[in-house]
Every structure is written in structure tokens, then in C-alpha cells.
């Protein structure tokens, strides 16, 4: 049944992010360099070293029924919103539910519901702990709700690989269709874990920017002044579909999911390999899998979290893979606007990479004022950049604590 040559295409996109409550608004914001990072007004953050984050532009309750929302953790709400948009965007393929699969990732899961219920336990005893708390906290909850909503029965999966999760889900979906297990898979990633404890925990690792006086400029990939990433929340979703299935129903096709390269660093639990060897290997595997050469690559949506070491390690890896072609590749770091959506990042950034390919324009990297000379990439900043026409591929990188590396390649159709 497995057919590694079975072509898989993207027919629907969905997103809810700090920059916009849907794909169109997010995309317009990414072209314009609009930051979705804001101060955390809650007094629980007052004594923390970081008091800002990328919070979704549209609160879930504005677009979701109250009764439905109360059953769900926030990350599940965002996942459903993005998945429904993607499903509608794909014109709702009509197929046997046993041929419809879900691969929806999260890095952290329903941690805010868990913590809220723990507060309830301490304050009021076990009998007041919500009966919905387990479905809310389980990491597969978002995928399961999306599956229930769409009636998917081919299988529901939740890759967990920290900040690479969302991209891994897309890779998983690709393999699900290639293996013949499904004809259509809704893939994506979600995260909504902004809470004093997660802020404190990432801050304890010294991973977060502390630019409290100027939050919209805190996420600044490739800039000399970068001092860590900015937490964000949001979700992205893609409808992946076998090319035959899409063609048979005359679906609009954004791009082909040409390949995925997945590797592990084997270096450190939370530090990137400074040479970026594992990341480079993932990109090479992806290019090989796509049958593409460095000269085919027109754009990279980089992982680019705005950490001092991570940005350099990834840049080193990109240069080693692309060689002399690197100067012709427009690199964008959209976390400069969204913040780091952790398990949602790979999915939202794949949406951005696909739109860049489809619309032949690369979004900006905001806040790049003093480029770090060690980066040496052709970074898009200031104005969005027109990409060349013709057959081409784009690359989306995602890396996660634990040494996970995922490189996705999307090809023009």
C-alpha cells in the first residue's frame, strides 16, 4: 500500500495567531510586519522577569459557541478554530470517514486547564475538580476534538516534539497519505500555555527575551540585540490530500507537500548543536526526498526564534546545505511578529511558507535593525520581497527542545 511517490497536496489553510484571527488577516499582518506581542496585564505576572507574550488577536469566545468552549482547553479551542477554517477553505472534501485522518500536535498540551484544576483542588477539594479536566489536559485532546468535529476515523495522532511538533504533524500526515492509510488528513499544531508557571519556567532557562519596556520589538531574529524568544499562542492547520483525490474533486491546490526530513541532534536536552549538524541533515534529507537541489529553493521560513545561539546554529546549517545558492534564497523569521507558538509554530509557519510560495512574496522579518554579521543569510526585512516565478520549492524549519529537527519542503504546482 505504501507508495512513496504518491503525491500529496495542500488544499486548505487555517490559522489563529497573535497577528490575526484567520489566515487572511495573519498573512496581511506578516507582510506588513505587524507584531502580535502584547503586555500580560494580569497581576500574576507582576513579579516575573518577563511580562509580555504573543496573545491571539481574536479571543476564542468571539468566534466559538460558549457551551462548546467551556468543554475545551484553550489550546483545543484554537485548534478547532484553525481546523474549521482550513476545512472550509478546502471546500469540505466529501469522503468516507475511514479515509479521513488527523495529525494535530501540541508541544505542551492542556497545561492551563491542569493548573486551574490543581488550584481548585487546593482551594475546594477533589469533589470540585472538573470532570472535563482529563480531556482538557491530555496532549492528544486537541487532535481528538478536531477528529470528532470532522468525523475522522482513519486515525488520530499527536506528535509531541516540543517546538517541532506542529511541523512533525505535517510530516506525519504526509506519511499517512503516502502509506495509503488515508486520502485526506487535517494536520496542524496548537499551543496556548501562557501562564505564570510556563513564563517562569522558560525564564528560568534564560530562554526568553526580557525586553519588558518594548514588547513589540522583543522578538528580533538575526538582530544583534536579540535576547531570547517571546512566548506565543495560536494554532495552524492544513488540509493535506492525495493529489488524485484533490484532482478528482477539482479542489484548489496551494502547493505540494514534497517531503519531510526529520532527524535528532543527540547533543543536549535543550541546547542546539552549535554546528547545526542535525538541522542540516534534516534539510538535506528533505531536499533529497523532494528531488530538489539548492537552486530550486526560493524561500525559507526559518525557525529563527530570536535566541542568541539558536539563530546562529540554524544559519550555519542553512549555509552548509545551500552552499553558494544561499544568497538567492529569501529567508524570513515570522516569529518576529507572532512570537514563538511552540507546538503551533511549525504549522503556522508552514501556512506562511505555503502562502509565500503560492503568492510569490516573502513576508518580512520584523525588528531587524542591526543585522548580526555572523548570520550571513539573505534575510527579508523592511518590505516583503517578490519571489521569482516558475517551478520552485520553499522550506520550513522547526526545531524542538530534545534535539528534534524537522524540515518540510513545499513545491509549487
Amino acid at each position: 500500500m505504501t507508495d512513496s511517490t504518491r503525491r500529496v497536496v495542500v488544499t486548505g489553510l487555517g490559522a489563529t495567531t497573535p497577528v490575526g484571527g484567520d489566515v487572511a488577516t495573519t498573512w496581511a499582518g506578516l507582510l506588513r510586519g505587524r507584531s502580535g506581542v502584547r503586555m500580560l496585564e494580569d497581576e500574576r505576572y507582576t513579579d516575573l522577569p518577563v511580562r509580555f507574550a504573543g496573545q491571539v488577536a481574536v479571543e476564542p469566545l468571539e468566534v466559538m459557541d460558549r457551551v462548546e468552549a467551556r468543554k475545551l482547553d484553550r489550546c483545543q479551542q484554537l485548534a478547532l478554530i484553525a481546523a474549521r477554517e482550513a476545512w472550509a477553505d478546502s471546500a469540505q472534501p466529501d469522503l468516507d470517514p475511514e479515509r479521513l485522518g488527523i495529525a494535530f500536535a501540541t508541544g505542551i498540551g492542556g497545561i492551563v486547564s491542569l493548573l486551574d484544576n490543581y488550584d481548585t483542588l487546593l482551594a475546594r477539594g477533589w469533589s470540585r475538580v472538573s470532570p472535563m479536566s482529563v480531556p482538557q489536559l491530555m496532549p492528544n485532546g486537541a487532535a481528538a476534538w478536531v477528529g470528532l468535529d470532522l468525523g475522522a476515523k482513519a486515525g488520530i495522532h499527536t506528535p509531541v516534539s516540543a517546538c517541532a511538533s506542529g511541523a512533525e504533524a505535517i510530516g506525519y500526515a504526509l506519511e499517512m497519505i503516502r502509506s495509503g492509510r488515508a486520502d485526506v488528513v487535517v494536520a496542524g499544531g496548537t499551543e496556548a500555555c501562557i501562564h505564570p508557571i510556563t513564563i517562569a519556567a522558560f525564564a528560568a532557562m534564560r530562554a526568553l527575551s526580557t525586553r519588558n519596556e518594548d514588547p513589540t520589538h522583543a522578538s528580533r531574529p538575526y538582530d544583534l540585540g536579540r535576547d531570547g524568544f517571546v512566548m506565543g499562542e495560536g494554532a495552524g492547520a492544513l488540509v493535506l490530500e492525495s493529489a488524485e483525490h484533490a484532482a478528482a474533486r477539482g479542489a484548489r491546490i496551494y502547493a505540494e507537500v514534497a517531503s519531510v526530513g526529520m532527524t535528532a541532534d543527540g547533543h543536549h536536552i535543550a541546547q542546539p548543536d552549535p554546528e547545526g549538524a542535525g538541522a542540516a541533515r534534516a534539510m538535506r534529507l528533505a531536499l533529497e526526498g523532494a528531488g530538489a537541489s539548492p537552486t530550486d529553493v526560493i524561500h525559507i521560513n526559518a525557525h529563527a526564534t530570536s535566541t542568541p545561539q539558536g539563530d546562529i546554529a540554524e544559519a550555519t546549517a542553512i549555509k552548509s546545505v545551500l552552499g553558494t545558492s544561499v544568497d538567492d534564497v529569501a529567508v524570513s523569521g515570522t516569529k518576529s511578529m507572532t512570537g514563538h507558538l511552540l507546538g503551533g509554530a511549525g504549522a503556522v509557519e508552514s501556512v506562511a511558507a505555503i502562502l509565500a510560495l503560492h503568492n510569490r512574496i516573502a513576508p518580512v522579518t520584523a525588528n531587524l535593525e542591526n543585522p548580526d554579521p555572523e548570520i550571513g543569510l539573505n534575510v527579508v526585512s523592511g518590505e516583503p520581497r517578490k519571489l521569482r516565478d516558475g517551478d520552485a520549492v520553499v522550506l520550513n524549519n522547526s526545531f524542538g527542545f530534545g534535539g528534534h529537527n524537522v524540515a518540510l519542503i513545499f513545491r509549487s504546482v
Binding site: 467551556r70 469533589s127 470540585r128 472538573s130
Partner: protein
């Protein structure tokens, strides 16, 4: 409508979104109001808080209809 029924209807509306006017004494939680077992736990918890009563797990299966629950709560308080 008794005060208890009114209070219970507000809780069911909050948990399940059922319109208040549809929540009448003869309605079954499971068959008519689409309250699954987890939602029923939520309804019970909210009733305990609102009416200051205790509804042990063993009792819950006897509360088939809204009227059953109202009678039980009224007898307790």
C-alpha cells in the same frame, strides 16, 4: 416555576446551552437535554454549590429527570 427549577435551569443552560424555556420538570437529562455523564457531574457540582446540598454519586443515577433533581434538592434543603 419554582426557585429550584429556575436555578437548575440556569445551571443546565450554562453547561449544555439548552434554552431555559426547554428545561422543564418532565425532561430527562440524558434523553431530552443531551447531558452526557461528564456534563451531569458538572451539573451536580454546580447544584451542590448553588443550593448548599450534597448529592452523593450513588444518588445521581436516580436523578433521571429535571423534576427528580428538583425534588431531591428541595427535600435536602
Amino acid at each position: 416555576m419554582s426557585q429550584t427549577l429556575e436555578g437548575l435551569a440556569a445551571i443546565v443552560n450554562e453547561v449544555a446551552g439548552t434554552p431555559i424555556e426547554d428545561i422543564t420538570a418532565e425532561k430527562s437529562f440524558v434523553d431530552d437535554l443531551d447531558i452526557d455523564s461528564l456534563s451531569m457531574v458538572e451539573v451536580v457540582m454546580a447544584c451542590e454549590d448553588k443550593f448548599g446540598v450534597s448529592i452523593p454519586d450513588g444518588e445521581v443515577k436516580n436523578l433521571r429527570t429535571v423534576g427528580d433533581a428538583v425534588a431531591y434538592i428541595d427535600a435536602q434543603s
